[in-house]
């Protein structure tokens, strides 16, 4: 074989991984999964490796057999850009493993633990005739048992924990009476599940098996034959949905959550083609089954928006035509203000998607694309394989389910920034318009009337700080991801210097937009985290934060700040961050990692157009 030929083969094989992972993301059946896993094994055997942006140490703990879940879970995570190093504990040893600080699981030091529990692992059940009061106590005890185990494991390792809640039992010895009888097993499980939801601390993430089993049907979910034979926690018919759900949660924990949903208009948001049919001719709203299906889809998108997903339009249309239904059809649930970008033109969808991502300052891999036209979907898949494309059917009544079950918007917590995100992007657009009109930038900044709060990490903001640490890619010096527990550790450590920045201006509240985290070693402060939301670039936030950090550092007896820039595919914009702040270049490692230093004694504070306040 000639050398060129080898190169060509290698080139072809490079394409194999994206294809394989796309198939994995779109697989719906266990058999498909097995065949993809076999292909993966062949590629690995042939020495093919794929580079992942994130890896995670994952411990599997089970009151059931976890072996058959592992490879599928690895595959699902890899298809989301996360590779994992996996540790398995023996069948049904979860309690010892979680309690014992020197267990094999604890020594593995997992970042994430997946606890595969089933109703068979419930230690005590109510007895026939137990009172409501007694059953409530027992539900509380069961919940304390599980959360107690989680607390121990968390104390020993600081890991995030995925815990199943419980699927209902497929049978009802008490028949319908069970629904109003406290000691009935299913009634008890419902109580335990509710209690788990109410009591779970931030580091426990419920794997909502109760919902999944309802979605697929509990008789379908649990196959007693495979439990009796091999202690399989979930039937093979439902193994993929369980694994997929688990991977979605872990993906959310490590920041692999999509940020923006881009939708087409004609036959995606409404029935018909507005350019041909006119705004009065399109089908939307009550009175027509198809119109109701599109309305239901719009209602679902509105719910996504309310929980922090950005919505954008990308449609092959005349811009003015495309806007008319939003203004002229009262049945439309979505309004123009619900979208942060509106691209109606005749250029290609991949071009527009790139522009939308650039406009919102996010990566194209944070986009989800919904379009009824299979040709457009295919074109996007071809030119932007990192964009998540939802495979729709021709029936608009399926849209909501297909988008929802893709599980692309999983988040570990809900913060104020999530609730307000669309408004913040709109305010930002106003700021940009306003800045376009001025030529004197400092004068413009003064007109913004900016106020900032800069403070060390505080419990109330841990969720948002963790979210930002795991989401920011561009203005991020080290791209060092941390779990909430690790952030909490930094908050409490006396050797830490931590800070967050919240910023408000005359257009509105930008929320918590910058995070700093340094660690004192002798007289030096090593900067492990310095990141900022790109929404507030060139507003003076970096300088303000630098002033703050140097001030606090000198109070801690620190003589030198040590800054590190670790290049990634996305953070070029900050390669000169430290130079701009007056740091001195020290050296560069072979991988491009650059080291900088700043002597605290030589620092002259920057003057900034931001008013520092205790609270706004």
């Amino acid at each position: 074989m000639s050398p060129q030929r080898t190169d060509l083969t290698a080139e072809a094989e490079k394409q194999d991984w994206p294809d394989l992972y796309r198939q994995a993301r779109e697989a719906t059946e266990y058999a498909q999964l097995l065949s993809i896993l076999r292909k993966r094994k062949r590629l690995l055997k042939a020495g093919q490796r794929w580079e992942f942006s994130r890896s995670v140490r994952l411990a599997m703990l089970g009151g059931a057999t976890t072996e058959l879940l592992e490879e599928p879970l690895e595959l699902c995570l890899e298809s989301r850009g996360v590779c994992c190093q996996l540790h398995r504990s023996d069948y049904n040893t979860f309690a010892q493993e979680m309690l014992d600080p020197s267990s094999a699981t604890a020594r593995f030091r997992p970042e994430v633990a997946v606890v595969v529990s089933t109703p068979f692992n419930i230690p005590t059940w109510p007895q026939a005739g137990d009172s409501l009061l007694r059953v409530r106590e027992q539900a509380h005890e069961v919940c304390s048992y599980w959360l107690g185990l989680c607390a121990k494991l968390h104390d020993h390792t600081g890991c995030e924990i995925l815990l199943n809640n419980f699927h209902p039992l497929p049978v009802r010895p008490l028949g319908n009476l069970g629904a109003k009888t406290p000691w009935d097993a299913n009634n008890f499980l419902r109580r335990v599940n509710r209690e788990l939801g109410d009591q779970a601390p931030p580091y426990v993430h419920l794997n909502d098996v109760e919902y999944l089993s309802a979605q697929h049907g509990v008789s379908q979910w649990f196959d007693p034959r495979f439990w009796f034979h091999a202690k399989q926690p979930v039937s093979f018919a439902c193994l993929l949905p369980y694994v997929h759900n688990t991977a979605c949660i872990i993906g959310g924990l490590v920041g692999r959550t999509a940020k923006c949903l881009v939708v087409d208009l004609d036959n995606t948001l409404w029935g018909g083609v507005v350019g041909d049919d006119g705004p009065e001719g399109i089908v939307i709203g009550e009175g027509d089954p198809i119109g109701e299906a599109f309305k239901a889809f719009q209602e679902y998108l509105l719910q996504l928006k309310q929980r922090g997903v950005l919505l954008a339009v990308c449609s092959k249309n005349d811009d003015a035509n495309a806007r008319t239904p939003f203004d002229q059809r009262p049945e439309m649930v979505l309004r123009l203000k619900d979208f942060v970008a509106f691209h109606a033109n005749w250029r290609t969808k991949p071009e527009n998607l790139r522009e939308i991502a650039a406009q919102l300052n996010i990566g194209t891999d944070a986009l989800v694309f919904v379009d009824d036209n299979p040709v457009e979907r295919d074109q996007v898949r071809q030119s932007l394989p990192e964009v998540q494309v939802i495979e729709l059917t021709e029936d608009p009544a399926d849209y909501v389910r297909l988008l929802d079950h893709a599980g692309l918007f999983e988040i570990a917590s809900f913060t104020n920034e999530d609730a307000d995100r669309t408004r913040q992007y709109h305010e930002n657009q106003l700021r940009e318009k306003s800045s376009a009109a001025v030529t004197d930038y400092p004068a413009y900044l003064a007109t913004l009337r900016q106020q900032a709060v800069v403070r060390p990490f505080e419990p109330a903001f841990l969720d948002r700080i963790t979210q930002l640490i795991n989401k920011s890619n561009q203005f991020n010096l080290t791209t060092l991801r941390m779990t909430r527990s690790q952030v909490e550790e930094r908050m409490q450590s006396p050797a830490s210097l931590t800070a967050y920045v919240r910023l408000v201006d005359r257009f509105g509240d930008n929320g918590l937009i910058s995070v700093f985290c340094g660690r004192k070693e002798g007289e030096e402060l090593w900067i492990d985290e310095w990141l900022m939301s790109c929404r507030v670039l060139q507003r003076g936030v970096e300088q303000l934060l630098c002033n703050y950090v140097v001030d606090k550092a000198s109070l801690m007896g620190i003589a030198t700040l040590r800054g590190v820039y670790i290049p990634t595919a996305k953070n070029r914009m900050v390669q000169d961050h430290y130079r701009g702040l007056g740091f001195t270049w020290v050296h560069e490692e072979p991988d491009g990692t650059a080291h900088w230093r700043l002597d605290v004694a030589d620092y002259r504070p920057f003057s900034v157009q931001i008013h520092l306040v205790e609270e706004y």
Binding site: A31, K41, R42, L68, P224, F228, H229, Q232
Partner: protein, 86 residues
């Protein structure tokens, strides 16, 4: 009764599952004759067979069969007389 269709489809499943295109199934073939046929992959095999032939095995049958001949006979029985005529 002609079970050749079952033999064919079962061979495809096994070749796929055990990643060996050379596998030839005989009446007396059993797990120890095929590399990679262990207790876990056996369960995967039975799940794949159930799906392929749209049948359901009893709990005892999932592990109680001695060889492929018995498996084919069981599949034929479960599918009923009409299925093997094709």
């Amino acid at each position: 009764m002609d079970t050749s269709v079952i033999w064919e489809r079962l061979t495809i499943i096994c070749r796929d599952l055990f990643e060996d295109d050379e596998i030839v199934l005989r009446e007396e073939t059993s797990a120890r004759d095929v590399e990679g046929w262990d207790s876990l992959s056996h369960i995967q095999l039975m799940v794949a067979v159930e799906k392929e032939f749209d049948i359901r095995f009893h709990t005892a049958e999932l592990t109680g069969l001695a060889n492929v001949g018995q498996l084919v006979a069981l599949i034929a029985r479960r599918m009923g007389p009409s299925a093997t005529k094709a």
